[in-house]
Amino acid sequence: MNKLKLVIVGHVDHGKSTLVGRILHETGALPEGKVEAVRAMSEKRGMPFEWAFVIDSMQAERDQGITIDTTQIRFKTAARDYLLIDAPGHKQFLKNMVSGAAGADAVVLVVDAHEGVQDQTRRHAYLLRLLGIRRIIVAVNKMDLAGYREDRYQEVRKEVAAYLRSIGVNAVDINFLPIAAREGANVRARSAAMPWYEGPTLLEALDAVPQPLSVSDLPLRLTVQDVYKFDERRIIAGRIESGHLHVGDTLLFSPINATARVASIEAWNAPAPATAGVGQSVGITLDEDIFVERGHVASHSHSAPVVTNVFRASLFWLGRTALVPGAQYRLRRGAAETPAVIERIDRVVDTNTLASGPGDKIEWNGVAEVTVRTRGLLAIDHHADNALTGRFVLVDGHQIVGGGTASTEDYPDQRRNSAPKGTNLFHVSHRVAPEDRARMNGHRGGILWFTGLSGAGKSTLAVELERRLFAKGYQTFLLDGDNARQGLSADLGFTPQERAENIRRIGEVSALFAEAGMIVISAFISPYRVDRDRIRAAHGEYFNEVYINAPLHVCEARDTKGLYRKARAGEVKDFTGVSAPYEAPIGPELEIKSGEWTTERCLAALVDYVEEHLAYRPAKIRVVK
């Protein structure tokens, strides 16, 4: 029978154990005579009976090897079986809580009607959301001590709802209900003391939680675990993390971008199936022997994962030594593993107040928003699109030290690389060689690629440099961001994807100018390193990366176009440096410190560079004596 895995969390003394005891009692999961025995024992000791004693007593028995499990307690309703996971919430046991709770399908968050939201209420809710548990049942407990008053229930409900909303839990995934666990009110039976409450009881609400596997309409993700050649078959083995596949489907393997069709789904001691779905460990053969290895992700080509080496993430850190930017870890996404660095800690989050601030490290059990950069390309999903394939762990030495959920929105998908789509393309060679043009012009063609923040001075310097070079007899032309946006890239917006395409187009146009013998000055923010590197890879002989470097605060203080003010006010979205990342060049050909230097010094450095590197010097003429 299907099981629902359930975890019960909440602040200390808000009634978790009492609720567990009461649920077990109401569902008949307790051994016969147990409650009577504990009641009698309490009376003998002169203590009021507590449901928590039942749990304690079972634990003691269990340790003598008689009753049920302490870490996973089972109970059942008429609808299905439940597995209650014990997830100790003490801060020092976070790794145990994570290990237990990460597998849960739903969570019951117990909140004391009198005390309302407390530290651990917030902390547990935050971590459970980070772990990907979406269904939350908020049990406002101890209603008996609050006089079963509706107004108090509504107050607490609002307080919890506000917090859950602030951490991104969808209202449709939350149930609220008032209970008194000790009395059993609204646990199984409806409470006469709270006639104003008309919703489901706790057990009814649990039974209404959908079985997780029945809701998967997500695109296919099959992470390759291994490739077997035990016999004549070459079997690609892995588990379907989401979606479905059929024999005959064309699969796209990422990040390698290779496709092949499913020839068969293999099985031992069972008929070979024609289809396989989410959760299944499968083995498939392909119609072509393409290179596939552990870590590659198969999808359908119209709904492929993102391929990237940089993304933002929410991270919880379990390492004993603090995480610092720049330190190397191994990142695992499914079966894929690649070296990775936390490039930047964007914000360290206080789970109590949700206040977030800058930080230079993440302490043991801390939570932060970070930017991750992997050495190899990684196939990953935006976590909001696919929770299972949008998460990863970090490994340090021999141990998992952290987990995170990925946000891929701020960076372009790197799948579409420079490979041309057409296949019948031939490069037409020119009769006029670049050397001929250089001799005629007195200089070589080249691209001066200005990159930097908005307001760093790119356009100002580019305009003046063009004038000065022209005056010195150089064939020059200026390509400017705003101008290109009005024509060449008029169809593009400002998403990471569109920014990448814009830069690709300008790179190609720049290269044509350079090939024609001109010195083209291309002044674009071009925030992504990978986009600039792509132009360098395609046209390295012409490409000169010039970093127009002024710090953000300087650019923002200048704000010549008033854009920073608008970005801070939220009027301009995806603004580089404010709400979208800027990746500074590593080892540019030239760095112009426009934040420190005078315009004159900047221009002098630029002109010097051109004269040194682009002026034509004929190959030495051999003098015959």
Binding site: K95, V98, L131, L213, Y228, P273, T275, G279, V393
Partner: protein, 272 residues
């Protein structure tokens, strides 16, 4: 999408799929890997799952750490299925009881021979990982186990400080001199095993089936295992019996009940 409905898994399929995933991870991540085969229903299920995972093959050695005190039916079963399942079987005897920790109670001492025997096999072959068929529902201490569970030098287990394990990511690297225990059945229950054996028609020793009002629920050494009262003589009847019983599976295993901490001590020292 009519196909979707057919491809949805039932509960046993889910258990199987999870175990297959774990076995494949172990096989990929660990160079020197072996599986423990104690000839009971759980380890037979494990061998079966390996054949599922690797499409009819069992690509690592099977180890039987032999106490020499198993039931004759079990030895017969071993000889037959090692051949029939085409297993690479390694049998090693356990050292005599005089060599184990004498402060343990008598039955635990007997069980501890297996710990020593296993330690010797690990040393002999240099195994970095051993797959063992323990389950969380068997016993309180086992309930706290991880799927990939690191063992220190000499095979010891640090129950109090286990590494985190979540999102199907396992700690699969071993520092030199240590090894991993891999537990592909950790999430199964006794009744799950029987339902799966029934569905898959996995053979087992007939000591599990009742004769003269008694049957074995769990098979260990002859001298420290006793049968329970039962009339269940088929798998169907065993499943029915388990749905109502309040007696624990290992109640017939003497070493679990000698003293409060005997089993915990055994496991901390490296027992399965």
């Amino acid at each position: 999408m009519p196909l979707r409905k057919n491809s949805r898994m039932n509960y046993l399929d889910q258990l199987e799929s999870e175990s297959v995933y774990i076995l494949r991870e172990a096989f990929n991540r660990i160079d020197k890997l072996a599986m423990l085969w104690s000839l009971g229903k759980d380890s037979n299920t494990m061998v079966w799952l390996a054949k599922k995972a690797f499409f009819g093959h069992v690509p690592f050695p099977l180890i039987h750490v032999d106490t020499g005190k198993k039931f004759p039916e079990m030895y017969a079963f071993r000889e037959r299925y090692a051949k029939e399942w085409n297993l690479n079987l390694v049998v090693r005897p356990c050292p005599p009881v005089e060599e184990v920790d004498q402060s343990l109670p008598p039955a635990a001492r007997s069980a501890a021979r297996k710990t020593l025997g296993l330690r010797n096999v690990l040393k002999e072959f240099g195994f970095q990982g051993v797959i063992a068929g323990i389950r969380r529902d068997e016993e309180a201490i086992r309930a706290k186990e991880r799927v990939f569970s690191p063992r220190g030098e000499d095979g010891t287990w640090d129950l109090k400080d286990q590494p985190p394990e979540f999102w199907n990511q396992f700690n699969s690297d071993v520092p030199p001199g240590t090894h991993l225990r891999i537990h592909p059945l950790l999430h199964w229950t006794e009744i799950d095993i029987w339902r799966y054996c029934q569905r898959e028609k996995i053979p087992c020793v007939d000591l599990y089936f009742a004769k003269n009002g008694k049957r074995y629920r769990s098979l260990g050494d002859q001298d420290i295992t006793s049968p329970v009262a039962s009339n269940a003589s088929t798998i169907e009847q065993i499943i029915t019996e388990l749905q109502t019983t309040k007696v624990s599976e290992r109640s017939g295993r003497k070493m679990d009940h000698e003293s409060e901490d005997a089993f915990e001590r055994l496991r901390a020292d490296g027992y399965m």
